[in-house]
């Protein structure tokens, strides 16, 4: 039971990081990325390869993962600077589809469909530890960073860009720089979540980094409430507890649990958008997420 709870807590922390960082892009900067799992995957492969080829030092793995995911976030920042709205969603969908193919075909780097097996346990100062404390510490750091960012001038700049890009530009804000930095922060955070995920599972393959995963993370942000500090974490906990909760219901045949769970996700997304577009934690009076 303890092991089960520890596992659940680690997964919630990892997805909490994913949802919180995606929230910086969606909620603060108005960049509606449907490709977050790409950077989650990049971080997972980078962290796993670092641990397997060099040393199983989690700090180094996290750093490498953050650098690679943050660096490649330019792939997402470029279309974000060019286009907006539906066009950007389409671009990020395209990126997600291409990345999924790359993940399953670049076998020397990613192990293909078979994935990377036998990722060593993390060792900090010569002591083998589990991923849980690492994940919790990273989550706390990310939440702190998001909180500071939201309150500081950079957060205000981002929200100004989200609400009125031309006005922000007219006031002398560096729109391109701010957008690029926001995307880089979000993607680097997703990369760290990926490295933690690789350590925790000791096995990664492309199935964890598909469009479905991106949509799941997006649903977490939206269910919790975009632009809020605790909303994404709450959303992550709720959506991850859902399958566990469903498996206790006796009247659903085990083969259909997955489908029922997906149907509930879908229904929750649709109904929330109709009746509470600001999310569970979001401001009740605020009717719209963005233009």
């Amino acid at each position: 039971m303890i092991a089960y709870l520890a596992n659940l807590a680690t997964i919630v922390a990892i997805f909490g990081i994913l949802a919180s960082t995606l929230n910086v892009a969606i909620g603060h900067a108005g960049i509606f990325s449907v490709a977050h799992a790409v950077f989650f995957g990049l971080g997972a492969y980078a962290g796993a390869q670092t641990a397997m080829l060099l040393v199983p030092d989690p700090l180094l793995a996290l750093l490498v993962a953050a650098l690679i995911a943050g660096g490649l976030s330019l792939c997402l920042a470029l279309p974000a600077l060019r286009v907006r709205g539906e066009y950007f969603v389409a671009a990020s969908l395209g990126l997600q589809m291409v990345a999924t193919t790359l993940f399953s075909e670049l076998k020397p780097l990613t192990g293909g469909i078979g994935g990377l097996v036998g990722i060593p346990r993390p060792e900090l100062f010569g002591v083998t530890i589990t991923a849980l404390p690492l994940a919790l510490a990273t989550l706390a750091l990310i939440l702190l960073a998001t909180h500071l960012l939201a309150r500081g001038s950079f957060g205000r700049t981002l929200r100004a860009i989200r609400d009125a890009e031309s006005a922000a530009e007219a006031l002398g804000k560096h729109v391109a720089v701010a957008k690029t930095l926001a995307v880089a922060f979000a993607c680097a955070g997703a990369g760290m979540a990926g490295a933690l995920f690789a350590f925790h599972m000791a096995f990664v393959n492309v199935e964890s980094f598909t469009l479905d995963q991106s949509v799941l993370v997006m649903a977490m942000v939206i269910v919790g409430g975009t632009g809020t500090l605790w909303g994404p974490l709450l959303g992550a906990a709720l959506l991850l507890a859902l399958p566990a909760g469903l498996s206790f219901l006796p009247f659903i045949p085990p083969t259909e649990v997955g489908a029922v769970q997906q149907i509930l996700y879908g229904l929750a997304m649709t109904l929330l958008m109709i009746f509470r577009p600001a999310g569970l934690v979001g401001d009740l009076g605020r009717g719209k997420v963005a233009h």
Binding site: G85, A90, L93, V98, T101, M273
Partner: protein, 289 residues
Amino acid sequence: MLFLQLLQGGVQTGALYALTAAGFALIFGATRIFHFAHGAAFTLAGYAFLMAWNAGWPWPLGALAAIAVAVLFGVAIEQLVYRPIGRHEGGFFTVFVAAFGVSIVVQNLVGMIAGRGFAVIDTPLSRATEVLPDLWIAPVFYVAIGVSALLFLALSLFLTRSHAGVALRALAQNPDLIRTYGLSSTRLSILAFALGSALAAPAAILTGMTVGLNEAMGHHVMLISMAATIVGGVGNLKGAALAGLLLGIAESVALAFVEPQWAEAVSFVVLFGFILFRPSGLFGVAVAR
């Protein structure tokens, strides 16, 4: 001859992509709604025909049932999902997420009811004969091309010659002016959804006869329609249809050079390139950012 065979497959797939993409582009152009659940209409129509066919219905009845299911779905989602969201001025992302939710629900419901995995509609039309040495063509190829061409002709006549069609094009340009002239924009957007969704039905039926149906295919269909609409230039039905055809051909002909796993990525590399370098698409006018 391999190249010809791939080209033939590409034209066949492309003609069907073009139909679905035109439906999506019609809806998006007229109502500005990014109808991400368009793929769900496709899946529902395909399975409706499959069930009717397996139950021994004659094919015209099955096709009517498929069209009815697609139209009902399109109108229902317009009324029950998009309209309430539009009423509280939800942004495009709200619409996108809600539509994505609907498509997840449909995909899993279809999987639970009709079973998961590939299902092929087996008709005498799908049996290929050797036309030229090493070139196999099934009669469904001619049907797909004929049906697509005919529907496009009908659609462009409707949009240019009938009152409702002209009003639909006007809705795309200026919804406020439509109201001034005493036309109902509500009724017109229902019409756009009904027509757009109906276009997905023949494409779904013919796809079921060629490569087969699968409960998760709505996603792929949707992504292709979206890609075609953007590559063709938003608001341009002919552009969307042509881009759909080209994407189908590119996907198929690419098989001559790369492994089959890469086929889907080809479409999205094209899409990504267009968004980066020519967001207005092939035939579009420059759009406001």
